[in-house]
Amino acid sequence: MTYSVFRAGIGGFYTVSPDQRAVVTSFGKAQRLREKTLQKPSEMTSEEEERYEFPQVRVVGPGGPYFKMPWQRVRKVSVATQAVDLSWDPSKAQDTIEAVTKDNLTTGINGQLRYRVSESNLYPYLFGVASPLEHVMGYFVSVLRERVANFVDPRGQALLSDAEPSDADAVVEETDSAVELSEGVSINDLRKNLPLLNQYMEEQCRSTTGRYGIELDAALITEIDPPGEVDRALSAINSTRNQVAGDLSTARADSEQQITMSARAVEIATNNAQAEVAPLKELAETLSQIKKEGGSDCLRAYLRNLRIPLFSKAKRVIQTTGTSEKGGI
């Protein structure tokens, strides 16, 4: 009696921390709410639903102190989000996992899975599945490798455009496709579409909640490591792309400079010509005024007057005798 009081009184209280949930078993049996899980993920087939049928158990939330009887056991589990490396495999030590791409290249893949234990389906995690995380990893890696083997760039660009450019639009199209010449190389497609691959994996793994009681929070495939020589060839593509972009920028800058210079040259030549013409126009205007007022005689007189300084500058003047005063100089 005394022992029972002590055992129940002192050993019967427990608490559940904020990141934990607990399931109490009596003589080994968990208290059930219903025999079947209410919600089944739509990703599962009816046959799979039958196979992964687990009861719904009563979950003790965070808080306390709670009381349990001596014949009851408390199974606590953390529901905080946790991370595991994609290469995690209890039966094999490895830094990366291998996968074969659509063009048969063997490449390394690495990343991380973020998961948490599903509070709404604790039974499989605690009782129904011997090693839930191993199951999740097995399922995930299988789906991932299958996807990698089938992966093509969704945009489905042609590798090399055979079309001959017939007009400006065709030239633009050709230059656009040239930038994407590396489309169709699986490793490149995969690297460029990593977010898409991650999204696909997350969608495919939604059923893990119903299957193993583990919710996939995020699939983060961060590295796709092809063999060294492929990586170098990909780097060369990148370098070439940068070099081409640089050359194009330089060519465009030179072009703009030359076109600007030539436009300025036109302006300069025009201004010079205008400068040359201005005195002509002005002089013509003045002479027109002189003629208007004094007629052609006045104009000739003006000219004669203009020539007078020539006599002061002349080294010699040859004058014929008997010439008229007109002096046809």
Partner: protein, 302 residues
């Protein structure tokens, strides 16, 4: 309150020995009850198979507190002496078989990894039908995998693995049921090239393809640069020609304009400009009379 404290203090000398007695007696009592099969605690996903005189008398797979006596009758009391209790876990388990060798239709040796789930569905068959059910199941999965995948096109093997996995499962499931196993999901988890030389050849092929892409990209860049340069040269030459023709155009227009108004004015303007330039030039000037033989005059004086 004081009375309660006093009664508790008075109760203490009896409580400590009582606690120690309970600490020893209760576990011993419960242990004996278990040993004699008076009760059994069955955990979740667990089955307990009971045999007596070499015969299976029953199975308890309902979790919680169970009384074999109520299930099997008085003979349950003999189990601890003349029988045995087997505890079998029925939770979902998994196994991964690596590197099963398969040849493709093209004759390429491929390594296939098969991952499958299984759970004990019939504990009695599991325990007594087959001495090594796990090993037999593995052998069956291997054999089914090889027969399903052998001589398939390499591409199909690599890309259509999920439907092939379902075929493997459909083949193995009936056999596994015989040994008390129910097969869960089966996935072809890995299909890989086992021949190093082939892996290197494929890598080389991809590298060459990438080199080709690099060259094409470079060539395309050069073409585009050439196009920009030629377009520029064309536009610049147009502009320079425009610059060169601007003087004649503007001067000509001005002279035409003056001539249209009065040709005499134009003549005078030009004469005025000639004289002004002559004066500004500091050239040596000889003034000759009009209508005279200039050479005779010059020769005579010179």
């Amino acid at each position: 309150m004081e009375e309660l404290i006093e009664s508790l203090i008075g109760w203490l000398p009896y409580a400590i020995p009582g606690f120690l007695m309970g600490l020893l007696a209760i576990p011993i009592f419960l242990g004996l009850a278990r040993m004699f099969g008076l009760y059994a605690c069955v955990n979740e996903c667990q089955s307990q198979v009971f045999t007596l005189f070499g015969k299976v008398i029953g199975t308890i797979d309902e979790p919680g507190l169970q009384f074999p006596l109520t299930k099997f009758g008085p003979k349950a009391l003999l189990i601890p002496f003349f029988g045995k209790k087997y505890v079998v876990g029925t939770s979902l388990r998994q196994h991964y078989m690596r590197n099963q060798m398969v040849n493709s239709e093209e004759g390429t040796p491929m390594g296939v990894g098969i991952w499958y789930e299984m759970r004990v569905s019939d504990p009695i068959s599991y325990l007594f039908t087959n001495a090594n059910p796990e090993g037999s199941l593995q052998a069956n999965v291997t054999s089914s995998t090889i027969s399903t995948l052998s001589n398939l096109e390499m591409e199909k093997m690599l890309e259509d693995r999920h439907s092939l996995s379902r075929n493997v499962r459909a083949t193995v499931s009936p056999l596994s049921e015989q040994w008390g196993y129910s097969l869960g999901s089966v996935y072809i988890r890995k299909v890989a090239f086992t021949d190093r030389g082939m892996v290197d050849n494929i890598t080389e092929k991809v590298v060459k393809r990438l080199v080709q892409v690099t060259s094409a990209m470079k060539q395309d860049g050069e073409n585009r640069v050439g196009l920009i340069k030629s377009e520029t040269a064309f536009r610049v030459s147009q502009k320079m020609a425009e610059a060169a023709s601007s003087r004649p155009q503007i001067v000509g227009e001005a002279l035409n304009e003056i001539a249209k108004k009065d040709p005499e004015i134009l003549e005078t303007v030009l004469e005025v400009m000639e004289v002004e330039n002559l004066l500004n030039s500091n050239a040596s000037i000889d003034i000759l009379p009009d209508q005279s033989n200039m050479l005779i005059q010059v020769g005579r004086d010179g």
